[in-house]
Symmetry: C2
Subunit: 210 residues, 2 copies
DNA sequence: AGTTCTTTGTAACCCTTGTTACTGTACAAC
DNA sequence: GTTGTACAGTAACAAGGGTTACAAAGAACT
């Protein structure tokens, strides 16, 4: 575990802190598609992302969903951070986008490290900063872009996060992420295919040029 | 200044910190409608809101605007916080919604206080937490609500923040905040008036029941 | 009072997106 | 093979909301 930890966080954290993380953190493996945090959960551990990717979803009372953003190696979930510090319920759902390795830290350590390690403090602030910016980008997307543009951005993001030009997803799944209907996605995807920007197969979409 | 500072923040900050703030902070008065921060500004001071209210706006490259949220007494701008710590440009615009009193803190103190005062650390974390939640609420609003619901929420929020059942605004101004057109707002407002929920006057809207 | 500017009301129209419904096709299970 | 199910394509229609255009009403100024 220490080896992976150093690879992902070695440039950020002091050696002392890395060592402490190694002592109190527990390595967790999560398979793609598995749920990590559900809305309303009380969060007792803070995850550090070592490998893989996580997708963060929002849901309203009617069950309507929306993809907020993806997390990658080196990220932590600032929403969870927030919950840990405030001891409140999770406002979001976290689902493994790929097979993912996490180190889970007991929240008691949070407070301690915050006063003890400058690098930890900086990391927490930097995480908040990054997440606020992700949220801003999400707002830009849904407020200022049309569905066709949003779909293109989604395909790009998803290809990047999965490091694969072929996206494994059904039209229905995409529709859930973008909070629209399957028919709309099929329609727009077909148009993208006609324009030669993607190739459609069953259960997958190949990106040609976007 | 110390008196006002204590009233707004006395329950949060230690006495030592209050005193330090008094020494290095400078009181600023901003009239309603005045701009406090513009997009792209490098922020060199961090504002603590003593009195009044500030509205935080987002704008995209085409000049389309959107109201993100309001700040009230006891709040600070986490986006600015973010900018200060990261030394990056502001992503948002801040405009005084009412006559407003601020205490401006030089950012050099941020780092210092963060390690020195636990109450300051907690305040900063709590600010991030609050702002993330505001952003989530904003996302919920634009993603899951129709324009009529958004308009009602806007009127409620605006009445609350101005502590006045009569909202001073033209239809055009509302349209800018909600990123829609004047005609749409006029249409929906008229419907609300017919339903007996508001009363329309020139340049103002009186809320009856929402 | 007359002129001008700002604000509001409203109609007509269009585009995007959401909905319903039905068809065809791939794929797995039997 | 046949059957069943999930997925995708498409048409037709409805609704929300954005656009254009014009009229009417206040307010401000002369």
């Amino acid at each position: 575990m220490l080896q992976e930890l150093k690879e992902a966080y070695g440039f950020i954290f002091e050696d002392d802190l890395i060592e402490e993380i190694g002592e109190v953190g527990s390595l967790q493996q999560v398979a793609a598609g598995e749920k990590i945090i559900e809305i309303g959960d009380y969060v007792k551990m803070m995850p550090l992302l070592i490998e893989g990717a996580i997708k963060i979803m929002r849901e309203d009372k009617d069950g309507d969903e929306l993809l907020l953003y993806f997390l990658e190696r080196g990220d932590t979930c600032a929403m969870t951070l927030s919950c840990c510090l405030g001891q409140t319920k999770s406002e979001i759902r976290a689902i493994a986008e790929r097979d993912t390795k996490l180190i889970m830290i007991p929240i008691e350590k949070m407070e301690e490290w915050t006063s003890k390690y400058k690098s930890w403090r900086d990391f927490v602030f930097e995480s908040y900063h990054a997440r606020l910016n992700e949220m801003l980008e999400t707002i830009d997307t849904i407020a200022f872009m049309n569905m066709d543009q949003r779909l293109m951005k989604y395909l790009q993001d998803k290809a990047k996060i999965n490091q694969n030009e072929v996206i494994a997803a059904t039209h229905q799944q995409i529709a859930y992420d973008l909070h629209t209907s399957r028919v709309v996605i099929s329609r727009l995807l077909k148009k993208l295919e006609i324009d030669g920007r993607i190739k459609l197969q069953r259960n997958s979409i190949e990106i040609m040029e976007l």
